[in-house]
């Protein structure tokens, strides 16, 4: 953990060397989801609701997912860019060091410009929370935080999975964006608006449903039966990272250096 902190600090300092570029990129990162959000807003202005969800409820989901995505892109960027490590053969260097590979890959890159995206989703979250009429109990706030955490874990898990694929394919595949960008885009609406098979896939295989649908039901008091289950469902999302890590270890054992 101390080592992770050091990695964080050093990379932060190095990115801060290019201050203007940093701010410009952060600014840009602020605007990308902003335009998507504007689109969302205009859609709701026209239609009013989507399968019974109103604008602020969807905005809540939107902000949670985007926040989770921003955080995991910032901290798990090393896995996202992993293919370049394999192509250059730099992964060999990590293997000979007496530390965990996961930690080292995580520490190889951070993308602090995602702070723009994060800021944007915090603003949306604040707006959504202030507009939804309901009582915020302590349990609900905990659930909300769990949702974000769980989202971070899932996105990180996907990044790790995609990085693991690089052990075999060497090159990063564009197809991975289905699960990262696509997952984000899809999970910004409550999952039950989609066809059954999509909902099932993204609840049982990749547990986005545990982030944006089940706990949301609890927060909005729409649950039937025991609320505790709904409340704790984000934890199931966190569990997703375990098979990913196992696969990663399997992949590391099968790693063959490209030698360049």
């Amino acid at each position: 953990m101390r080592l992770f902190g050091k990695y964080l600090l050093i990379l932060f300092k190095s990115q801060m060397q290019y201050r203007t570029s940093f701010w410009l990129l952060s600014f840009g990162q602020f605007f990308i989801p902003f335009s998507v959000f504007a689109g969302l807003y205009f859609m709701f202005e026209r239609f009013g609701q989507i399968r019974g969800w109103d604008f602020y409820e969807v905005a809540l989901v939107f902000s949670v997912i985007h926040m989770a995505f921003a955080l995991s892109e910032c901290f798990a960027r090393g896995f996202d860019m992993f293919s370049s490590l394999v192509i250059n053969g730099e992964f060999d260097r990590l293997l000979v060091r007496p530390r965990n590979t996961v930690l080292q890959v995580l520490g190889s890159k951070f993308e602090f410009t995602r702070i723009g995206r994060l800021l944007q989703s915090v603003l949306v979250l604040a707006w959504a929370v202030s507009q939804i009429h309901m009582d915020w109990t302590f349990a609900k706030i905990v659930t909300l935080i769990l949702m974000i955490m769980s989202g971070v874990f899932i996105f990180t898990g996907i990044f790790i999975l995609m990085a693991t694929m690089c052990f075999w394919t060497i090159q990063g595949l564009e197809i991975s964006s289905i699960f990262t960008d696509g997952g984000r885009e899809m999970a910004q609406y409550p999952l039950n608006i989609y066809q059954k098979w999509v909902t099932r896939f993204f609840t049982y295989v990749i547990p986005f449903g545990c982030v944006n649908y089940l706990p949301l039901m609890y927060i909005l008091d729409r649950t039937e039966g025991s609320p505790v289950l709904y409340m704790l469902s984000p934890l199931a999302g966190c569990v997703f990272i375990i098979p990913c890590l196992l696969l990663w270890r399997f992949g590391v054992r099968h790693y063959r250096s490209t030698g360049s």
Binding site: L24, G28, F31, I32, F42, R51, E174, E185, V198
Partner: protein, 267 residues
């Protein structure tokens, strides 16, 4: 002219080499298409009033967007050109016996076309045979189809003129990332890539209609789906031509200016 054509051909062959990348892209595009359609479907399922564009028209719109993505995306960029400018290799480029504007224009055009050729036919073919309601409908008659092709090509020329302006701005700023990002995010929104133009509120549509961005994507797609009638389309095509001339003239002018004071970066 011959020089431009051969640049164009070389680039096309180059782009066609990456077939597996195109295949992966294809899968991605289908996923995106489905997600977008399902979201719109959910919105439409409980809409009380009739909307300005019908759901089948919208689905066609989405598939066309996915099929011609590389023709209409503003962020589709050539890093080589950026590097030319920032690394100083622009000096070689200036030695060539062809006008640099036309040369780059041909390069960008070929790149987009190569990428689109690999993607658009499979997407259109598969989307045309999907079960309802996901199917891509065919244009109502031959005239519509012809108009679609014309408007799409004109739109392509316009988008390249716009992206040429972005490249030219690199001469001044040296770092393209920031300005490019802003430009493309706003441009794409105004082109109806995030939500289709007919679904935007009226005040926004008024702004969008004045700007050239929607002529590149939104307009040809609506012509295809029949949302814009033939007679109306014929009225807008001159507007496309007008924008094209303005943008190219502006690009040539600013490029000439930028080149006169170009600093060849050493290194």
């Amino acid at each position: 002219m011959k020089a431009y054509v051969s640049v164009f051909r070389l680039r096309l062959v180059n782009g066609l080499q990456y077939r597996s990348a195109a295949l992966a892209g294809l899968a991605t595009q289908f996923f995106w298409g489905f997600i977008l359609i399902m979201v719109f479907e959910a919105f439409y399922s409980q809409a009380l009033v009739t909307q300005p564009i019908s759901l089948p028209q919208l689905i066609t719109y989405v598939w066309l967007q996915q099929a011609f993505l590389s023709l209409i995306m503003l962020w589709f960029r050539d890093n080589e050109l950026f590097q030319l400018i920032t690394s100083g290799n622009i000096a070689y480029e200036l030695c060539r016996p062809t006008g640099i504007y036309g040369f780059w224009y041909a390069k960008l055009l070929a790149q987009r076309l190569a990428s689109a050729m690999l993607r658009c036919f499979p997407v259109i073919l598969i989307a045309a045979f999907l079960p309802q309601p996901y199917r891509l409908s065919m244009p109502v008659d031959a005239v519509t189809a012809l108009l679609f092709v014309i408007t799409l090509i004109l739109g392509l020329f316009i988008i390249i003129s716009i992206s040429m302006l972005i490249y030219i701005s690199t001469f001044v700023t040296m770092s393209a990332a920031g300005s490019l990002l802003m430009f493309s995010v706003i441009g794409e929104f105004l082109a109806g890539m995030i939500i289709p133009v007919p679904l935007m509120p009226d005040w926004l549509q008024a702004i969008v209609n004045v700007l050239p961005f929607r002529l590149t994507a939104d307009f040809p797609f609506r012509v295809y789906s029949g949302h814009i009638s033939t007679s109306e389309a014929l009225k807008i095509i001159p507007l496309q031509l007008l924008w094209l001339t303005v943008l190219v003239a502006l690009g040539k002018y600013t490029m000439g200016k930028a080149l006169r004071r170009v600093v060849v970066q050493g290194g």
